[in-house]
Subunit: 190 residues, 2 copies
DNA sequence: ACCTGAACACCGTTCAAGT
DNA sequence: ACCTGAACACCGTTCAAGT
């Protein structure tokens, strides 16, 4: 990439982060180009799709989330690790208002620039889930895709003004539903 | 209303139902007017907002849902009634793809034409929830707003192609989380 | 009393023309 | 090699003009 292009790229990235933080994932691409003082075609050249832009915006938070799953696996008990990561996952999908819609559309679409990111998150969660299921503390009738869907639905709740105040509490309710009685009893006795 | 206007009104209603069934709640209003062979301003005259149109489209299904809550209260045990109505509620919010977003926006906005419809649904559910809580079969730490939010989130899952296949199963998982151990034990012994 | 559709202010996406 | 912005095909919403 030419030096001037690299400069525009990072400028666009910074402006996009700002606009998306303000207006959410449905922000107008025209508005981003406008604020960056760049032709609309230039934005498309650097980020050919909305998904490509978000892939860039989310990359570092995504890497953090994947790393976190590994850490929790070595530091926490299976049930606690699963629930803690579930919360981190919800926080991640709430990085930007509306991003969860983009992720829901990408998880089953190999063409999407966000596809790999989404499947990585799903796998990281599936690992923690399987570990918790193997020790009998997580219910056996859900899989990694279910865990991802539940995370997404809680992210969506947080995006809706009317539901956001209760989203945290509902995350607790659902997190507890991931665990088995055996786990819940053992925590009471601890 | 003049006779010709009444005729156009019911024609618009029928065409809107058709287009929305095909394209979801985000369908273009222009497209509806076009297919109805009516000026765009005429659509706006009959249904001044998207919410007003959906209020009309959903009215009868909404009435059914409210009546159903009363019926279940007199025919079913508190826990079973709650869970059965929870499923009906999810089916209702799934009447049309994307309608759940409209409802989420309306529940806390008294200006919305859908506001009354949404609060009616929420109340009907709250009654069944309170009854189940009074007999100790539903967990005490959720309220009618939580129940409504959970229904909405499951409706949203059903709207996402990637999540829809598991939405039914996830509804089971969450429905069971609404109930207490006491209820679940009593069912096992039955 | 009711209907019409042009007008306005926006979108996303593409691509010939410029530097 | 890269950037530009007009062009195209859409939106939602309003409102003067018509019947």
């Amino acid at each position: 990439m030419r030096a001037d292009a690299r400069k525009i790229h990072s400028h666009l990235f910074a402006v996009a982060r700002e606009v998306v933080a303000e207006q959410g994932a449905a922000a107008s691409l025209r508005e981003i180009a406008r604020r960056a003082d760049v032709g609309l075609g230039t934005l498309y050249r650097h980020f050919p799709t909305r998904e490509a832009l978000f892939e860039a915006l989310l990359r570092s938070a995504l890497d953090d989330l994947t790393r976190k799953a590994g850490e929790l696996e070595s530091t926490d008990a299976p049930g606690e690790a699963l629930v803690a990561w579930f919360r981190d996952g919800i926080a991640f999908v709430r990085s930007y208002r509306g991003v969860v819609e983009l992720m829901a559309g990408a998880i089953d679409d190999p063409q999407s620039a966000l596809h790999a990111s989404c499947t990585t998150v799903r796998s990281a969660g599936a690992n923690l889930l399987h570990r918790a299921q193997a020790t009998g503390v997580a219910r056996a009738d859900i899989d990694g895709a279910d865990l991802f869907a539940l995370m997404a639905s809680l992210g969506w709740l947080g995006d809706q003004a009317a539901f956001a105040p209760r989203a945290g509490h509902l995350a607790d309710v659902i997190a507890s539903a991931l665990l088995t009685d055996r786990h819940l009893r053992s925590r009471k006795h601890a």
